[in-house]
């Protein structure tokens, strides 16, 4: 009874915070729009789309951070730890080098998404042992190596390509929540909402996985199947966000840890709480990134690290780390 009421309060507070962040984000921007015209303003419409992308991306990155930290049992794990980032970058660069953008606007984010997922599948295949298990350490190592190899391929392309356009890939990799059309936003939102709903429904299994593979198996969990499902879920939602807005560091690392420090390591609460906090955090950080030097935009990753880093260190100094229930 007590916990039910506490949960209700927790989620009411988080939802209110997210709503407040979104309202503020729609009201602020590079251009001043009078409050009276807000309801019928094309600029407000554009801002709303951007706020939606920020919320979806923030929720996706923090949740997939929670998932990767649990299945890899490593506090340093974050959504890009297994090389998704360089895979997506390489996909985007290839789309530009081989002229796929001429086919349609969707091909560039499409290739980035394909690159992200392809990378994850390769990493998984490399880490899989003959017996069928996927040891967390091997996964991390093969992820790091694949990340390095793909990253060097990307830099190779950027340095030899005759087109100056490719230099923009480096800027895109720094992360940007600019949204130009609804189409991409719709696809990303759909992938993320479905992915997060599944993660929420399966959150109990994350508690077991976080105990370690052996104890989880003893408790009746089909460890490899569960790991595969979560691995795919986290990769799908991360890949979708990377395709839409490049790399946004730190959200997937600090939001899960901050929320865990505040409400404890039970994933049934952690998954939805991290999603809501991540959404609110990224909406606020993006508002900051596009207003502080308007009409210039600062790469969002710069803001997330600058705002989030010190706050997280402060929490870390004050509380002890708890990783499993």
């Amino acid at each position: 009874m007590m916990t039910a009421r506490k949960n209700l309060l927790l989620f009411a507070v988080l939802l209110a915070a997210l709503a407040a962040a979104c309202t503020l984000a729609v009201l602020c921007g590079a251009v001043r729009v009078p409050l009276r015209e807000m309801a019928d303003s094309s600029i407000a419409r554009l801002r709303a789309a951007r706020v939606l992308l920020a919320a979806v991306t923030g929720a996706a990155l923090s949740t997939s951070g929670v998932i990767f930290q649990a299945i890899l049992r490593n506090p340093l794990a974050e959504p890009y730890v297994l090389g998704i980032s360089s895979g997506a970058g390489l996909g985007e660069a290839c789309a530009i080098v081989f002229g796929l953008h001429a086919v349609g606007a969707w091909t560039v984010p499409g290739m980035a998404f394909a690159g992200a997922l392809g990378t994850i599948l390769v990493v998984y295949a490399l880490a899989r042992t003959a017996a069928g298990g996927v040891p967390a350490q091997t996964l991390l190592l093969s992820g790091a190596i694949v990340h390095a190899v793909l990253g060097s391929l990307l830099m190779f392309l950027v340095s030899v390509a005759p087109s100056e356009d490719l230099h923009n890939v480096v800027w895109w990799l720094l992360g940007n929540l600019q949204v130009l059309d609804w189409q991409l936003l719709r696809v990303v939102a759909l992938v993320v909402v479905v992915g997060l709903a599944m993660a929420f429904l399966l959150a109990r299994d994350l508690n077991l996985l976080a105990l370690g593979e052996e104890p989880a198996a003893h408790l009746g969990l089909h460890v490899e199947r569960t790991m595969q499902v979560f691995f795919l879920l986290a990769s799908l939602v991360t890949g979708a966000t990377v395709a839409a807005c490049g790399l946004i560091g730190f959200v997937g690392l600090i939001v899960p840890h901050t929320v865990r420090l505040m409400i404890g390591p039970d994933h049934r609460r952690l998954v939805p709480a991290a999603a809501l906090s991540g959404a609110a955090f990224l909406v606020l950080a993006d508002t900051f990134a596009r207003t502080v030097m308007a009409p210039l935009e600062i790469p969002i990753g710069v803001i997330t690290a600058m705002l989030g880093g010190p706050f997280f260190l402060f929490l870390l100094k004050r509380r002890t780390f708890a990783f499993r229930s």
């Binding site: 251009v31 554009l46 030899v160 800027w171 130009l180 308007a294």
Partner: protein, 305 residues
């Protein structure tokens, strides 16, 4: 007596002939360093183009792998990428002069100074600086006269564009899209700003102090430009339809009036070389031939807070 006279005539004739031949020889390769032709290495595509325009292309012994114009430039030895030359290869070409522009920067310059190679650092961010660079190059390769002639011709061409009347009494307001992910434009200190100005338009991002700022899409909507110039190679084909699909971009005068220019060769707009003159002419022509900007479409601009 006569013999002495003929001998004298012969000597004078030979001297005169010799001097004449010598003068021809000198003017053909006026900057002879110890009897051989000056060996020049260019570390930027723009400098390569300027040297060829000057008629000094035959002095080039090394260029970057980005130097693709004029076609003759591609047959010259490459010393590495734009801004990152291979210093060993560069020195092996035994250049008398290395012209550095853009990101090549101080490191290369210092490394070459130590090896005793003469360097010339140039900055080309406007037409004025381009003329200045041409003068410097002309002096360095001993072709000052040709440089002055070329500059005068370029100035005349620009002047010819500038004197064409501005249609409708108001300058066309132009937004340049250099890239879309993230949205990038050309600010006040960029060469493109100068190109637009000279083509009879006005750059909506003129007030920004970065050469290539990344800006908010909502600012573009607020600027409400008459014309959008798409100056990247990607997405060129369907830029017009795509812009209509962008959230709220259909409100922009340029998108509503289908005034999107997307087929100008990017090198004519972006590379700070002699072809920019051509770029100005092309852009001016296109700005004049666009569908009429109706009087009711006077853009209202909201300024940033």
């Amino acid at each position: 007596m006569w013999r002495v006279f003929w001998a004298l005539i012969a000597v004078v004739g030979l001297l005169a002939g010799g001097m004449w031949i010598g003068r021809i020889g000198r003017s053909a390769s006026s900057a002879v360093a110890g009897g051989k032709r000056l060996r020049v290495v260019s570390l930027a595509p723009s400098v390569t183009e300027l040297l060829f325009a000057l008629g000094a292309g035959d002095r080039l012994v090394g260029v970057t792998n980005r130097c693709d114009y004029p076609p003759e430039a591609t047959r010259i030895e490459r010393v590495g990428g734009f801004g990152k030359p291979n210093v060993e290869k560069l020195l092996a070409l035994a250049p008398d002069l290395v012209v550095i522009a853009g990101p090549a920067g101080r490191d290369v310059s210092q490394a070459l100074h130590k090896s005793g190679v003469r360097t010339l650092e140039v900055k080309i961010r406007s037409f004025e600086e381009m003329f200045q660079t041409l003068r410097q190059l002309g002096e360095a390769v001993g072709m000052s006269v040709q440089a002055d002639t070329l500059i005068a011709r370029m100035q005349a061409e620009l002047q010819a564009v500038a004197t064409q009347e501005v249609r409708g009494g108001r300058r066309t307001r132009v937004f340049v899209e250099l890239w879309d992910r993230p949205l990038t434009t050309a600010g006040g200190p960029s060469f493109l700003d100068d190109v637009i100005e000279r083509a009879g338009g006005v750059n909506v991002a003129h007030g920004l102090s970065q050469p290539h700022p990344r800006i908010s899409a909502e600012q573009v909507i607020a600027w409400n430009p008459d014309v959008i110039v798409v100056a990247h190679m990607a997405h060129g084909g369907d830029a017009a339809e795509q812009m209509e699909e962008r959230i709220s971009w259909a409100d922009i005068a340029a998108v509503r009036g289908q005034r999107i220019i997307r087929d100008l060769p990017p090198d004519h707009l972006l590379r700070p070389g002699p072809r920019l003159i051509e770029g100005v002419k092309l852009l001016a022509q296109r700005l004049r031939s666009l569908p009429e900007i109706a009087a009711t479409e006077q853009p209202e601009e909201r300024s940033p807070p």
